[in-house]
Subunit: 122 residues, 2 copies
């Protein structure tokens, strides 16, 4: 697949570490807005570098919108899903349904609500 093809790009994208996780975290509660520090706290193990990298990628690709409140110190940043970002969630849903159908031996996914799974709300 040509690297300039968005299908390829989207596939490459979702496969990167933390990306799906960040999207799902922003998806919880629909039009949720999350601060950088909230994301960091709610996504165990992610380093500041990876979080800001992924957020920049997602912003560049138009899935995430960043807003900055610089009116006072310290500066506050908020992130939320754009329309295309929300729509991207459906891809994760399809992925999950595929897994539920064909990978039933996997304990984490067998239980409709595997407490540990961030894709729980799908």
């Amino acid at each position: 697949m040509d690297e300039s093809c968005t299908v390829y790009q989207a596939a490459d994208f979702i496969g990167r570490r933390w990306t799906a996780l960040i999207l799902l975290e922003l998806y919880k509660g629909e039009s949720m807005t999350r601060r950088y520090s909230e994301l960091k706290k709610r996504i165990p193990g992610i380093t500041p570098k990876m979080l800001s990298m992924r957020l920049r990628e997602l912003e560049r690709e138009g899935l995430v919108k960043k807003t900055v409140d610089a009116s006072e110190f310290p500066v506050k940043s908020s992130y939320s899903l754009t329309k295309s970002g929300k729509d991207f969630i459906k891809i994760i849903k399809v992925l999950k349904n595929w897994a539920l159908t064909w990978k039933l031996d996997n304990k984490l996914c067998k239980n409709a609500e595997c407490g540990k799974c961030p894709a729980d709300n799908l």
Copy 2:
């Protein structure tokens, strides 16, 4: 996302280079069977190592079925999609539809049939 979660695994999976390409190649013509050398010829640029690696992964994950005819020399191998493999194609379809909806500026995908796109038949 826990690495043992199949949702994560499936995402990781589709993001790997050549994987989607191989699946799409096997999908052309529905229950198509392809020889190793056919795949190699039809997927420009793939190296023997990558092709056999990906095929092994896909087989291990149950998306691809391999059959070997060792009755004569040289040995002949054939690969085809399993049910779960065919079903996985729908994920690529959703991916493509998402791209078509939100990434219309991309010329390759804008044309409903971009001759160069292996996802053309979706």
